[in-house]
């Protein structure tokens, strides 16, 4: 640890966002960067805890004390190496991770956690811009071929890990471009797509084969037969719907459809299909999560007249939440850069029905609900009967995802599912089908990018063990 007292003398300093009235006119990344000196000072605030809760809280187990010390000392290359020992893509997580580490940082106790996420992004950028990252193809190939289905963060991490170990990896992607939700889900203003391309070209140079626009679907059996192992990383594609009156009206779309459409704008491959746009509309986003927030930011940039975001749950406390004390992830009010850009946020509203004219939406009826804790400490909802009408001509449903798309690939493969209809996988990420493994949202339900990467790494380790004959797999798991 470079400076044991830094945390006392140096305050947390975030790079902050570009000014609202500038950033809403483009899709460039909203977050700014600190100069290298400030960055070092921020890294110096890390106390190298005897029990680093940040490291524990990180799904990847990033060893923050070790690489932040390197940042403090200006050893960027070493920082990058330490970071990539646990995290394949620090340039992604450094931008979009909700930073569970920072919430668990011991300095969070005094509300000044280390800027771990920004530090991480800085390490990755420094390493890329200074040319420290060069393709490092494996010296020896194992002769084993692996197919990864899906090119989201889980699939990519799995591919990267397996390639490092000398296996030959092919990544199949149904969409026209590689990246999964990284590319089509997350708006550019949070993650510029060039960042993804930069990583992909590196991976390609190291020998990974990408097959975009190649839906596998029913061909899965052939692939299983042709490859030594297969990893399913197709995500959790089935969105949660809101089956109330008027759902079939025009102008109601799933959030992902909306975000995908926007993201496709930047791709030369973008198709000619009808585009959902918020331009000139009063937008209502239903669902108060991160995806909803992305819809807000995107709507603003597209030129919406107004944006409202509603949520069925009550408004969380603003700073502290006794229910989720440190080192847990705090359930508190989260105001994103998108929220700052202009939107009305409301809570405890249940959507009763969609009201339209000529088959087109023009209002939504909502009802205020009340939440109370029952005897077991669980929140229960009661309707108050107090309703109101919200005028809107564009409704975006950001209610999360329920499980993977079961038709096609999964159905054909006939892998065992768990109670929530996710693909059931074991300690080695193996599924009920021999040679077939699973990683990411397809096994755990929709979750964070960082969890997807972790899951991809774990599956890679399982596959490697399987290929080397080290792992004694139990009988195929059955549900």
């Amino acid at each position: 640890m470079g400076n044991p007292k830094a945390f006392l003398n140096i305050n947390r300093k975030e790079a902050g966002y570009r000014p609202v009235n500038e950033r809403i006119y483009d899709f460039g990344e909203v977050e700014q960067t600190l100069n290298p000196e400030d960055r070092k000072l921020q890294a110096s605030r890390c106390m190298d805890c005897g029990v680093p809760f940040c490291h524990w809280a990180c799904p990847l187990g990033n060893i923050q004390p070790e690489w932040q010390d390197m940042v403090y000392r200006g050893e960027w290359k070493e920082a990058y190496e330490i970071l990539t020992q646990t995290n394949d893509f620090p340039e992604f997580t450094g931008r979009i991770c909700p930073a569970l580490c920072e919430k668990a940082c011991a300095l969070k106790l005094s509300e000044q956690p280390v800027t771990i996420r920004e530090n991480e992004a800085a390490v990755a950028e420094r390493a890329f811009t200074e040319g420290m990252i060069v393709p490092f193809p494996p010296k020896k190939r194992s002769g084993k071929n692996i197919a990864i289905i899906g090119s989201g963060p889980a699939g990519l991490a799995c591919a990267n890990q397996l390639n490092r170990k000398g296996h030959t990896v092919t990544v199949f992607e149904k969409d026209e471009s590689i990246g999964g939700l990284l590319r089509f889900g997350i708006p550019d203003f949070k993650l510029n797509k060039k960042i993804i391309d930069r990583r992909l070209s590196l991976m390609e140079a190291e020998g990974i084969i990408f097959r975009p626009s190649t839906p596998v679907g029913n061909n899965i059996s052939k692939i299983v037969a042709a490859y030594d192992a297969v990893c399913l990383a197709i995500g959790s594609g089935h969105p949660r719907d809101l089956n109330v009156e008027g759902r079939d009206l025009k102008g109601i779309a799933f959030a992902l459809e909306f975000l995908q459409a926007q993201n496709r704008m930047f791709l030369s491959t973008s198709g000619p299909e009808e585009k959902i746009s918020a331009r000139g509309k009063n937008v209502l986003v239903i669902g108060g999560g991160d995806t909803g927030s992305d819809c807000v930011g995107t709507s603003v940039r597209q030129g919406a007249l107004s944006v409202t975001q509603i949520e069925i749950m009550p408004k969380p406390p603003e700073d502290h939440n006794e229910e989720t004390p440190w080192p847990n992830y705090p359930m508190v009010l989260k105001t994103t850069s998108s929220h700052e850009e202009g939107c009305v946020r409301r809570w405890s509203l249940d959507t009763k029905r969609f009201i339209g004219e000529n088959g087109k939406i023009n209002a939504v009826e909502v009802e205020t609900v009340m939440w109370q804790k029952d005897g077991n400490g669980r929140m229960t909802m009661t309707h108050t009967g107090k309703t109101e009408i919200i005028k809107t001509d564009c409704v975006l449903l950001a209610l999360g995802f329920v499980h993977p798309v079961l038709e096609g690939l999964i159905g054909t493969l006939n892998v065992t599912l768990d109670g929530r209809k996710n693909v059931l996988s074991g300690a080695y990420s193996e599924t009920s089908q021999r040679k077939v493994f699973a990683a990411g949202d397809v096994t755990q339900g929709a979750s964070l990018v960082v969890r997807a990467i972790a899951s991809g790494r774990k599956a890679a380790a399982g596959i490697d063990a399987f290929l080397k004959g080290q792992a004694c797999f139990p009988e195929p798991i059955n549900n």
């Binding site: 006392l8 805890c49 190496e81």
Partner: protein, 1505 residues
């Protein structure tokens, strides 16, 4: 039960090897050799006056042993009707024989036969009359038949003496090889033409009565040597009473294991020509299964019999310190250096009184920690004893009063009546041979050889090697970098909460399976920094192949090393040295990886054979090397190889003929080097560690050149080795080497027996198979072609890492505990305990235990309050933790009826007041530690328990240091020190060098606060049970067994990891030993060490604990998140910091702690209900309630065997398993009762009182109880000056005027023993020789050692010289004395000391505050002063001159000192001969104070304008 005179066999965790003893000794000699019965009678009186130095067993009647050695009483023998020839023509001695007729017959026949072989006859056998009826039960059951035999032959004098010796050794050997049921039941007490020993399992008072011979007026002698024993055990062993054949020993030989082994190895090089026999006739020289003192006596006797003079032999075995800091002639240094090549010192505290019948005398070891006072009378009598005042004399009868000084001896030839003093004796010895010339011509100094060869520091395959030898990122960053940058070992904080090596699923180096042992109570650790003058790492390596008994220049053909660590350069020179025929051969420490354990075993066998062949081929050096590792060959663990070869060569008697040098990549940290040396390595070349340094330098990770990095690294190893040695009280590497001061934990007995010379291993564990597997695993990794894992792994040994070593305190457990106690949710708390109790893989030994169930209804179980009373919190000082944290704990514990502990740092008297709501922030337990910070009468009286901290779990055997920058005003105030001045806690308590000293401190504390419970805190290690037994016999009310897992605010990392044992082992051993000795009923047993849950408490209770300590868990409840940064003062949660802004972050509340302890108690109740018991008392010590529970999947862990932990001694049926009675403190009749009564008025209404008393050395701790009464009423303010005045005449016992309160003046005419004015709290003590003395007071010793230890205020005036360590840790008292021994003013932090006379070595070591003035007319003071922390100047400032003059005037006023008068008469001239000793830090603080005052003045002036 059949009680024979033996220790119990090794059983459970008890191992007889660990028995200790300590004692009182005395010697009376008529210098002119006249014989009288008076000498015998007075000898017995001396013994009787030291009865408090011996001890009694649980029956309070059986003594630990007492005896007397006298010259053969020829006339008395004739009067018994035994037809002996004239004096010197026959030999006689007492024999202990078995009671069994047949066995006795066999013994007598054996004796007769052996005598016959040597042309000797058994002239007569006399039944020695004894009074068996006075014995205690235990002693009586084991009483032998005692006979006196008389032996004649056609020889006399020396020749006969030698023959008797050879016969005795042969008889001993026959007995050893016999079928006697109990081998030691036949024992020859002595057999000599000169002297005879009477001894037995008696108390000092019983000796006279038991042997009526001794009171017969015709029994005469010109000398008597007496000894009373204080043993840690109460097992009936008659033969271990002292004196032995030549000596009586008060002390302990710490290096005994090594000394015995080396002696065995040495036998092949001893050809006792002078004895007229071969070594085989008398082998083994050391009689097995005896005490350390007996072994010392055996070897001494062997040397003397082989023709080496008594002083010569003693100087070889127990040499004084002769490094640069000691004023000795170069010839004498050469004498010592020459002999240091032949034999390692027998190191450890020792007062040795000895006699061969003609010569008699005494000596002290190099440290001189045991007292030895003497006086010589005008009628030529010398009395030398552990204490002064053991015999009364008229003042006019005394010619000289003195004491032995460290390393010095004094001998009287009773035949010629000449008294030889040390200097004379030693110079004669030094002249006996041209030692200096021999050394100069033959001994090579490696440092002085240079070579033109270039040596590479970067090994081939560097990164593979790192992996192969298991280097981790932490090894490099947390160990090696601090070592090579700072030149010292890194510091860490909090405890070790990782699994034992055997429970870890990470591959371990073999080193990790060993733990350092350390000294506690029975012998003191040493301060290797402040008392460097006794320490040495110097060694000589080479081959010895000549008869060591013949002085010869050839013995000096050796290589001298200043440090055992060889740089690559030095190692290269050594390997290629051809000088004087030196030859080196290299033996590879490698085995075929694919052959696994079998391959390893084979490699070891071959290595041993090759080593033996190297000896036979006349090589001087064997290099055991693990260079050459490749894909097929894996390295043999270096420790295994070294130890195997070392022990193999010893068994072949060939070890001394060769040096074992280890060239290894494996060793990197201090513990590794200590282990290699402790198991026999002569020197070590850690080439990969140097490779790491080279890499760090080249990659610019450190900004040093290689040479400096290497120098720092070696320096830090040297320091570390000194520290590890000094922990055990060992001063020289020569005696540490091969001494095996370690124990194995989790290693199979098969391995320790085969390769580690029977090192203790109690729970079984890894065998050769596992060791090979772990080695091969690392080896395989290092040669994997995988490119992606270039950098080293961080295995999380120190900090938590998710995939690293498991930690008991991890994010889950920490946050669960905090949440539960904060929310007050028992449900959450159960989640926490589930995480702890049901963890998947075991971390602690307790994880292998479960209790048996037989449920009852929980309502029947005793209430929560009955259980929380048994809870205490750990001793965390105010200073290590913040005020807020400290007080929160105290409030919570007081609320719960438990006890909090002050720790070592005093307590603000404000906290003694009870708040209006009845709550209180007063800590119930006041700790008394080696630094004695803030230990005043008031502090001691405000306690329910006084705890003597002998050792601390995280750093047993070490002291601490609070750097000056952390000592702010508040801390300085509570510690009675000065802000800004560093505070050093010495490793030992300077008033506990032995078990009888501990008894004395307990007595002191009991006197000052009779209502407080006295407890003694020990740390778990093998042998702690026997120490605890000694502590129980020293009358402690409670014993704490701390686990090595315990925490710390700052400690060297290696101590946290590698010293001490888990609490389970120590607790179980203590319980078993106390029960075996039937001492358990007298004491409360408490345990701590990472206790967290109700199950932990239940487990500890069943293993014997009645009370339970919590420290880390309490801190965590208050917000600690285990940053492990306590030592940096940067605790971000305000717990372990003094920083004001950080303290504001403290969010702990007493309610959280109350929740925690209530939950724990509730859980205990649940467990009790499950087990079917209504109260905790019912399960204490009932180990049958615990069973083994297999834990975890780790195959190594499956090999753990905990049966010894659960063992119950046979006699548990009748003996108490928990505290049932109490101690008899014997304070009802102390002199203070009278003093208190007479002072009633004075104390009540401050009316002056005065009285006169006579006093003797049996009046101990005089003044303590009185001061307690005063402090209870008036606090530290005490009474007005001189309110109470007592005049004493005689020899005061130990601790005279201890904690003496303000307003009390003690005036003593006579002399005084050790520890006078201990903890002086404002009182005044005046000591003068009695009127009528004929000697000059300033040339004679009037008071003993360690005066004013930890004094906080008051005055002391001494008209005479005193012993060692005057004013040690004085923080405020004023003292004037007329000469002092070694280490004067050590660790002083305040007050003033004036010495009107010479001082010994090492003056002002560690002195950080206060001022000393030394009258130094000879102008040589600077040699004796340790200049590390002080500055010397003349007394020139007017204020100083005035100060000094006032002090001396007062000295004269109180004592009428003639010397003071002489100085005052001519003060202006004499003042120039004074030297002022001023600590640098103190000077700086005073300077700053002055500057501050000036600044304020200026500000004042400016304001006025």
């Amino acid at each position: 039960m059949n009680m024979q005179s033996v220790y119990p066999k090794e059983q459970g965790l008890y191992i007889p090897e660990f028995e200790h003893d300590a004692c009182g000794v005395g010697l009376l000699v008529n210098i002119s050799g006249e014989k009288s019965h008076e000498i015998v009678e007075k000898g017995l009186q001396v013994l009787e006056n030291m009865v408090h130095r011996g001890a009694e067993g649980a029956d309070n009647k059986t003594g630990d042993g007492a005896g007397i050695m006298i010259q053969i009483p020829h006339e008395f023998i004739l009067l018994q009707g035994i037809p002996v020839p004239e004096k010197g023509r026959y030999g006689t001695g007492l024999i202990f024989l078995p009671k069994n007729n047949q066995e006795q017959k066999w013994c007598m026949e054996t004796i007769i036969n052996v005598l016959k072989e040597h042309d000797l006859n058994l002239l007569a056998v006399r039944d020695v009359p004894v009074k068996s009826e006075i014995l205690g039960d235990t002693a009586r059951e084991a009483e032998p038949d005692i006979k006196q035999i008389f032996v004649t032959g056609d020889s006399s004098g020396e020749d006969l003496e030698k023959r008797l010796y050879i016969c005795r050794k042969k008889i001993e050997k026959s007995v050893l090889n016999s079928d006697l049921r109990v081998k030691r039941s036949c024992y020859i007490v002595s057999l000599s033409t000169q002297k005879i020993v009477y001894k037995g399992l008696l108390s000092s008072l019983q000796l006279r009565e038991y042997f009526p011979d001794l009171t017969n007026p015709y029994l005469t002698s010109g000398l008597s040597l007496v000894h009373s024993r204080f043993s840690t055990n109460t097992f009936p062993t008659w033969d271990l009473a002292q004196p032995y054949r030549l000596l009586g020993h008060n002390g302990e030989i710490n290096t005994i294991r090594g000394n015995r082994t080396w002696m065995e190895a040495r036998e092949s090089l001893l050809n006792p020509k002078a004895l007229g026999c071969t070594i085989n006739d008398i082998s083994p020289v050391i009689q097995p299964e005896m005490s350390d003192s007996a072994s010392l006596d055996n070897v001494l006797e062997f040397f003397v019999m082989s023709g080496i003079s008594l002083p010569h032999a003693l100087s070889i075995m127990v040499p004084e310190s002769w490094n640069d800091k000691n004023p000795l002639s170069s010839e004498l240094k050469a004498f010592y250096e020459y002999h240091s090549i032949l034999m390692e010192p027998w190191d450890g505290p020792a007062t040795l009184l000895f006699s061969d019948g003609r010569f008699a005398g005494g000596m002290l070891d190099r440290n001189g920690l045991r007292p030895a006072r003497y006086l010589i009378t005008t009628n030529n009598m010398l009395v030398m004893a552990s204490e002064a005042g053991v015999l009364q004399f008229e003042p006019s009868e005394i010619k000289e009063k003195g004491k032995l000084h460290p390393g010095k001896m004094l001998i009287i030839d009773t035949q010629t009546g000449v008294l030889y003093r040390d200097e004379e004796l030693k110079e004669t010895l030094a002249q006996e041979a041209p030692y200096k010339e021999w050394l100069d011509k033959n001994r090579i100094n490696l440092e002085k050889i240079s070579s033109g060869r270039t040596v590479k520091n970067s090994p081939k395959d560097y990164s593979s090697l790192l992996k192969c030898f298991g280097y981790t990122k932490e090894d490099i960053e947390k160990i090696i970098i601090p070592m090579c940058v700072d030149g010292k070992e890194p510091i860490s904080s909090m405890g070790n909460d990782t699994p034992l090596a055997v429970l870890s699923d990470k591959p371990q180096r073999l080193f990790s399976y060993f733990r350092q042992q350390f000294a506690q109570v029975t012998n003191p650790p040493i301060d290797s920094i402040r008392e460097e003058l006794v320490m040495s790492l110097t060694g000589y390596i080479g081959a010895m192949d000549k008869n060591l008994l013949e002085p010869s220049a050839d013995h000096c053909k050796m290589l001298k090393l200043k440090s055992p660590i060889l740089t690559n350069q030095a190692f290269d020179i050594l390997c290629n040295l051809r000088y004087k025929g030196f030859q080196t051969t290299t033996l590879p420490m490698l085995f075929k990886a694919e052959e696994g354990a079998r391959g390893l075993e084979k490699a070891l066998e071959e290595l041993c054979l090759k080593a033996e062949k190297a000896v036979d081929d006349d090589y001087n050096y064997i290099v055991l090397s693990d260079r050459g590792v490749d894909e097929t060959m894996a390295p043999v663990p270096s420790l295994l190889a070294v130890s195997a070869v070392h022990h193999y060569l010893i068994s072949k008697r060939k070890r001394l003929q060769i040096a074992l040098i280890v060239e290894t990549a494996e060793a990197r940290e201090n513990m590794h080097y200590a282990l290699l040396l402790g198991y026999g390595a002569s020197a070590i070349n850690p080439y990969l560690a140097f490779g790491v340094l080279d890499d760090l330098v080249k990659t610019k990770k450190i900004y040093l050149d290689f040479h400096t990095a290497e120098k720092n690294y070696i320096k830090s190893i040297d320091k570390g080795l000194l520290k590890i040695m000094s922990k055990m009280g060992i001063s020289t590497l020569r005696s540490y080497r091969g001494a095996k001061i370690f124990e194995a934990i989790g290693v199979a007995r098969s391995v320790t027996d085969s390769y580690f010379g029977g090192t203790v291993s109690k729970i079984e564990g890894v065998d050769l198979e596992d060791i090979a597997k772990e080695t091969i695993e690392a080896h395989r990794k290092s040669f994997e072609p995988d490119q992606s894992t270039q950098s080293l792994e961080n295995t999380g040994q120190y900090s938590y890492r998710r995939n690293g070593e498991r930690h008991a305190w991890n994010p889950e457990t920490i946050s669960a505990l905090q949440l539960a106690t904060r929310m007050g949710s028992y449900k959450k708390f159960k989640e926490f305990t589930r995480l702890v109790d049901e963890k998947a893989e075991p971390i602690f030994l307790r994880d292998f235990m479960k209790h048996c169930n037989n449920p009852i209804d929980i309502s029947l179980v005793e209430p929560v309050e009955a259980i929380t009373r048994r809870f205490v919190t750990g001793a965390m000082s105010f200073g290590s933790i913040s005020k807020e944290a400290h007080e929160t704990i105290a409030m919570a514990m007081n609320h719960l009826g438990g006890k909090s502990n002050t720790g070592e740092g005093g307590e603000d008297p404000e906290r003694y007041k009870i708040h209006e709501d009845g709550s209180s922030a007063r800590s119930a337990i006041k700790q008394v530690s080696s630094g004695r910070f803030g230990v005043t009468a008031e502090y001691l009286i405000n306690a329910d328990e006084l705890q003597i901290k002998v050792a601390q779990g995280a750093k047993p055997g070490e002291g601490g240091q609070l750097p000056g920058f952390k000592v702010d005003h508040v801390i300085a105030k509570t510690r009675h020190s000065i802000p800004g001045i560093s505070l050093i806690s010495p490793p030992p308590h300077h008033d506990i060098y032995s078990i009888e000293d501990l008894a004395q401190l307990i007595f002191d504390l009991k006197n000052i606060n009779p209502t407080a419970r006295i407890s003694v805190k020990l740390v778990s290690e093998s042998g702690v049970g026997t120490i605890a037994a000694g502590v129980a016999k020293a009358k402690a009310d409670a014993i704490i067994i701390s686990g090595a897992e315990g925490g710390t605010g700052a400690s060297p990392s290696s101590s946290i990891k590698h010293a001490g044992l888990p609490t389970e082992l120590g607790l179980a051993e203590t319980q078993q030993t106390l029960v075996m000795n039937n001492l358990r009923g007298q004491v409360v047993l408490q345990s701590d060490g990472q206790l967290k849950t109700g199950k932990d408490i239940i487990t500890m209770a069943i293993m014997g604990a009645e009370e339970f300590g919590f420290a880390t868990s309490a801190l965590i409840v208050m917000g600690c998140v285990m940053m492990r940064k306590c030592h940096l003062n940067t605790c971000p949660v305000g717990v372990a910091t003094q920083d004001e802004t950080l303290r504001k972050r403290f969010t702990g509340k007493q309610e959280y702690l109350i929740n925690f302890f209530t939950f724990l108690a509730q859980e205990v109740r649940e467990h009790l209900a499950e087990m079917g018991f209504t109260c905790l008392d019912d399960i204490i010590g009932h180990t049958e309630r615990l069973t083994y529970k297999p834990a975890g999947a780790n195959p190594k862990a499956q090999k753990i065997d905990i049966s010894k932990l659960l063992f119950r001694p046979d006699n548990t049926g009748s003996n108490a398993l928990r505290k049932t009675t109490g101690q008899q403190h014997q304070i009802d009749a102390v002199l203070d009762r009278e003093l208190v009564e007479i002072s009633g008025k004075a104390i009540e209404s401050c009316k002056p009182v005065q009285a006169d008393y006579t006093i003797s050395n049996t009046n101990r701790s005089t003044g303590a109880m009185l001061s307690g009464v005063i402090a209870a009423k008036y606090g530290n303010a005490g009474l007005p000056d001189n309110t109470i005045r007592f005049n004493f005449k005689g020899s005061a016992g130990q601790s005279f005027g201890a904690f003496l309160a303000k307003g009390v003046t003690f005036r003593l005419e006579g002399d005084c023993n050790d520890y006078m004015g201990k903890g002086l709290s404002g009182g005044r003590i005046i000591v003068t020789p009695p009127a009528g003395v004929i000697y000059a007071p300033n040339e004679n010793i009037i008071a003993g050692n360690t005066i004013l230890y930890g004094a906080t205020s008051g005055e002391i005036y001494i008209n005479g010289r005193v012993g060692e360590r005057f004013c040690v840790r004085n923080s405020g008292a004023t003292a004037i004395v007329e000469g002092a021994g070694d280490h004067c003013c050590e660790y002083m932090t305040g007050g003033r000391t004036v010495v009107l006379g010479t001082v010994g070595r090492n003056f002002a070591a560690g002195m950080s505050g206060g001022i000393a003035y030394v009258w130094n007319p000879t102008g040589d003071f600077d040699y004796f002063c340790n200049m590390e922390m002080v500055e010397l100047s003349l007394v020139e400032e007017a204020s100083d001159i005035k100060d000094l003059k006032t002090l001396i005037s007062r000295h004269f006023q109180y004592t009428q000192s003639p010397l003071a008068k002489r100085i005052l008469n001519n003060f202006s001239e004499q003042v120039e001969k004074f030297i002022k000793v001023m600590p640098i830090e103190y000077k700086k603080v005073l300077h700053e104070e002055k500057a501050e005052a000036l600044k304020q003045k200026i500000a004042q002036v400016e304001r006025d304008y």
